[in-house]
């Protein structure tokens, strides 16, 4: 029996010795190295009889990565499972892919045998890739941090602007009210009265701009809720045109309003349910743009067309929109060739139409003519 066991053991050792990878056999209870094959002996020397974690890894306690428990049944017998994993050995600074399995050794002990294949070259490439991946992840995190800082800074700027707009309204109220006090209570010379009147007008314009910018902010941030009120679009268009025709921009140009392409009959109305705080500035922006684009001596026509599904406002001028900005005409900050142009007028008109469920279209297909059409769907208002 003894000789049979020794023969079996010798046979196993011979098999393991001819395999060109490192193989070691460990007692699963005592961690004693029962056998080390020829390949491993070259680097480890005569290691048999030593403790595996001390000899192989220079540890004083069993390794954290030890897989012996995975290879045994609860009774401590081989469970037939094979553990395969990559492992870095600090001792020789080499990577190995290790395959481990428990088995009965001829002397009756339960052992695990481990076959270690050196994969250091392969790992070298994989590790450089993993390091590059980590570097990318770190840069992404830094970028995300910078983006957040930028967003926070923009939020802060908007907050400050909002406060400034709000705070400006109080002194502006005085600027609007005081000219009236001067005009009504003091006998001002005509020239002075005219100047005071201009001051009042300027203050009103400033208040309009502040209100518009607050509305624009709310439209952009999606915090605007449309509260439609009945209004007369034709009256709004006529009042806007009358006011603008006295502006310097309109000098040398004709501004003509019409109803469905015909002169406006006395007492005509175009009832619509909308927000005049949005629609008034929208009309003004579109018409001012048309006047500014129109050549000296040109005609700007404003035609209101109440139709069954929607009311259309068609503004035509004799100018041409530069080809390079046509596709982006209603985007924020898009402007070209206008002194003092901010690129916000057409954009805010677009937002105002959108807030009414409508749209704005540009037709620049005919040379020497530009047509802007605002389509405002009926929201429940009356007819023409």
């Amino acid at each position: 029996m003894q000789s049979g066991s020794m023969l079996e053991s010798a046979l196993l050792k011979t098999h393991f010795d001819v395999i060109p990878f490192g193989i070691y056999v460990v007692d699963v209870v005592s961690y004693e190295l029962v056998f080390v094959n020829r390949h491993y002996r070259k680097s480890l020397g005569q290691a048999e009889g030593g403790i595996c974690y001390k000899v192989l890894y220079d540890n004083d306690t069993p390794c954290l990565h030890c897989r012996i428990p995975e290879l045994l049944t609860e009774a401590g017998l081989p469970n037939g499972q094979t553990a395969i994993y990559d492992h870095y050995n600090d001792r020789n600074e080499r990577w190995a892919q290790i395959q481990e399995k428990a088995m009965g050794w001829p002397d009756g002990r339960v052992v695990k045998y481990a076959i270690a294949v050196d994969i250091s070259e392969l790992k070298e490439t994989q590790n450089r890739l993993a390091e590059a991946h980590a570097e990318l992840a770190i840069r992404n995190r830094e970028l995300a941090g910078q983006n957040k800082a930028l967003t926070d800074s923009m939020d802060l700027r908007e907050h400050v602007e909002r406060i400034a707009r709000h705070d400006l309204k109080a002194p502006l109220s005085a600027l609007i009210g005081l000219p009236q006090v001067l005009l009504e209570n003091y006998d001002l010379p005509p020239q002075a009265a005219e100047i005071v009147g201009l001051m009042e007008q300027a203050a009103h314009s400033m208040l309009d701009m502040l209100n518009q910018s607050l509305v624009l902010y709310r439209l952009e941030t999606g915090s605007f809720t449309l509260t439609p009120q009945p209004l007369d679009l034709l009256d709004l268009a006529q009042r806007t045109c009358t006011r603008l025709s006295n502006m310097p921009t309109a000098r040398g140009r004709s501004l003509l309003t019409s109803l469905s392409g015909a002169p406006i009959p006395s007492g005509a109305r175009v009832d619509f349910a909308g927000d005049d705080l949005l629609l008034g500035p929208m009309l003004q922006n579109i018409i001012v743009n048309a006047l500014e684009a129109s050549p000296e001596g040109g005609l700007v026509s404003v035609d209101l067309r109440p139709e069954s599904d929607a009311t259309r406002l068609v503004v035509t001028n004799d100018g041409e929109v530069p080809p390079e900005i046509r596709a982006r005409m209603f985007e924020k900050y898009v402007t070209q060739g206008k002194r003092g142009g901010t690129g916000l007028g057409a954009y805010s008109a677009f937002l105002a139409a959108k807030a009414h469920g409508g749209r704005i279209d540009l037709d620049a297909g005919t040379p020497g003519r530009t047509v802007v059409t605002v389509t405002l769907p009926r929201l429940g208002g009356g007819g023409a």
Binding site: Y57, D58, N59, L64, H65, H87, Y88, D90, R91, E93, W95, K123, Q126, N127, L129, A130, E131, H133, A134, E135, A137, I138, R141, E142
Partner: protein, 124 residues
Amino acid sequence: MKSLRILVVDDSGLTVKKMTKLLTDIGHEVVGVATTGQQAVDIFASLAPDLTTMDITMPDLNGIEATRRILADHPQACIIMVTSHGQEQMVMDAIEAGAKGYILKPVKQEKLAETLETVAAKYL
């Protein structure tokens, strides 16, 4: 670059020795050694190192959790992982925990020097 005061965290005595030699050779000072994650958390405040090299697999508290805990108390702490784990999830977990660099073993002197220089330039 200026000499950094470094804490080395690794449960392998061999790695600690090698890291100490590598760091010293490139002009830095190893001011402390921890062999477990918990030990690193415990001694970090008193050492106040400029930079920490952190292994991942360690007894009692792994390097990712130790990094998280150190950064919770010391948000400016500069920690780079020096590990044998290159799996994507492990890398992402370490970066998410706040690691500023990631080096895989075996550590090459040039790679270590380059990483320290980059991290120092950005964060120190």
